[in-house]
Amino acid sequence: MARYILFRLLQAIPVLLGTTFLIYFMVFAMPGDPLLALFGDKTPNPALLEQLREQYHLNEPFFVQYLYYLGGIFRFDFGVSYSGQPVTEILAQTFPVTIRLAILALLFEMIAGILIGLVSGIRKGGIFDASALVVSLILISLPIFVTAFLGQYFLGIALGWFRPTVGAGAPIQDLILPALVLASISFAQIVRLTRSSVIETKNLDFVRTAYSKGLSSKRIVPVHILRNSLIPVVTYLGTDFGVLLVGATVTEGIFNVPGVGRTLYQAILKGEGPTVVSFVTVMVLIYLVVNLLVDLLYAVLDPRIRYAK
């Protein structure tokens, strides 16, 4: 098992090199001079411009720029943004907020989604099942910004349960509403996924055999049906965590959350190579770790899956 984990972590190195290279190249290839853009309408002082170019290695060829950046990463120096703030600092400010938001959303979609999906699947064809299907279909069809505005208006303003936008320091109680909105689509997907998985499992032979042994539904549903139904759901949750991190952009914008999505969006607009690449690098890392955890969780859920020792 330890060997397997080590192998997977080593696998992350080429993935990281590849992604950073691609992103760096794309930012490099973006039209327009990022420094000129900084000055807006004003004409910059040529000497200052030259100094800045020197500082950010902008007049070196692409590969040299990339190697400079790569060298920095190994010293945990992610470079400096064009506004003069070290990228490490920006990362430290924004990632905790977004990760908190994503975890909140994940917890919500996991607990509520699996529970409702389970009940739906067990009582297939009933009123509960029908309403769960309709509600989940509505949530899937609504664009996220519509859900966001609806939540903001009804839960935030009309009912006043939550603050409509996130306050300074992004306290956890302010993040609940954005998390609910962020989770809405995945929640609906998980309800449907769990439901169909449960329906499939509950008709399997071993469930009937469990009944024939004299077990009650109270035991069979969690022990024999739920566990077997969870594998596709876990796969979905794993990939979804990454989506939640990136997909937070719209939600973060609407609720004014000082998180990764908003900052990254602005950095892309400004063509700030080091900032964009650093954000993506951290995201890829998180994504890889989460995927590894999901793969390890498979082995826990299904003993038939065993990784080479």
Binding site: D205, F206, R208, S212, K213, G214, L215, R304
Partner: protein, 571 residues
Amino acid sequence: MTEPLLQIKNLDVSFRTQDGEVKAVRSANLTLNAGQTLAIVGESGSGKSTTASAIINLLPGSGKITGGEIFFDGVDLTKVSEKKMEDIRGSQIGFVPQDPMSNLNPVWNIGFQVEEAVRANGIAKGRKDVKKRAIEVLKEAGLSDAERRLKQYPHQFSGGMRQRVLIGMGLAANPKLLIADEPTSALDVTVQRVILDHLETLTRDSNTAVIFITHDLGLAAERAEQLVVMYKGQVVESGPSVEILQNPLHPYTQRLVAAAPSLASRRIQATGADLVDIEHRPEADSNLDLIAQAASRAEAQKAEGHRGNAIVVDDVTKVFKIRQGSGRSIDFTAVDKVSFTVERGTTTALVGESGSGKSTVAKMLLKLEEATSGNIVIDGDTINGLKGRELLALRRRMQPVFQDPYGSLNPLQSIGNIISEPLRVHKVGDRKTQRARVKELLDQVSLPQMVVSRYPNELSGGQRQRIAIARALALKPDIVILDEAVSALDVLVQAQILQLLAELQEELKLTYLFITHDLAVVRVIADNVAVMQSGKIVEAATTDEVFENPQQEYTKALLEAIPGAGIQLGI
């Protein structure tokens, strides 16, 4: 006389379908005394499993008891609450399901699943006692190293082992009645025999009554004192086994007696039953007598004289590399220096248990696997290293029919497309001649032409296997490789397919390689037999020699395992 343990009176069971209610069981009656063994026999869809499920109220899907009574120990089970039923299941009525592969939960270890059954029926309390009883149960069921295996998972057990676990669970609480639903149909014949012997000992010792459900009349008669024959949801005949077997009254029972290969290979003379094809074209199968069939076949073959070899397998070995993870692998010899020949126009049966390497031989012949060493000669041409066009030409002369008629036909293609696909692949004729050929083939396999536009799921297992045979014949091959081609079918359907194969052989001068684990079938279809064990051919001779004078212990064991072998039949 004491009151019977189980009495079913006028039981009706219906399923709700899109076309309305379908009656699966119609006023069935059945009586079973304590300690007795009763077998319910019938083909799939006859309602035998449904009747059994109804007893413990575990009908699948939309099934519902719509009438009648089921008295068990004086209580009408159709009227008890679900809560009460839970108490009865397991502790009073044990159940052993059909397929050991799908009836254990793959994500829990064996110990957990047995302990669960022990605990639910209140046989033992406390973790230690429960575990102790679980080990006891497994040991009784024939798992000698039960302690060590408790922590293992179902996928680490063989089919026979799993069935032992299931039997152990069914008997864990010493129930008064055990329902065994085709408990061994999914197992090799030799394993089947051991398991059934064991089950018999266990239930006799504890005086447990058994309801034994099977489609094989021979098996039923061998294992049960009482027989109940079901057909289309109705009980058509019931009584003591020997009586029914020697003097079947209902035409359906007569057909079953005539068709069961396990009995056919023992029978001297047919009962003169009027056999009617239950699916299509009654006239085609009006004489479904396997023994007569086999006799006329043997005669016709004798008259032919030697016709040269269609298949020569010379010293063929197949080694698989089994990955051990992180780049290492060990060699596994699946087929070990196997040699045999098949004469043109004859049938050779390759017999062995699962894992004996018989299917690997078939795959190498079809060039789906490459032989590690040795030579395979088809019709005088070596097939080693054939590629591209030459390989395509070889495939044209040699076609396979596989075991599972449900898995080997693409469910999204119409029957016409399925049969004509080989013609399209090999670019034989234009659309019009292809369509004509499909019709001709359907005639040959005795199916009506209207099935052309239908889809596999609308056909029965036997009909599907006919389609698979038609597809194999589409290119007019010389050789057909039949890999367990009748093993998944009910006895009656099996008999029809065997007959069809024999007719086609005569008509088209086909050469068959017939791969099976069931020696009973071999007797009626094959001229020569090669018995395989752990990758080697241990015995090869003509069919008569093998059956009358087996040389190897292993062959004898296989022969003894044919159910019903010890039964004396009348007439």
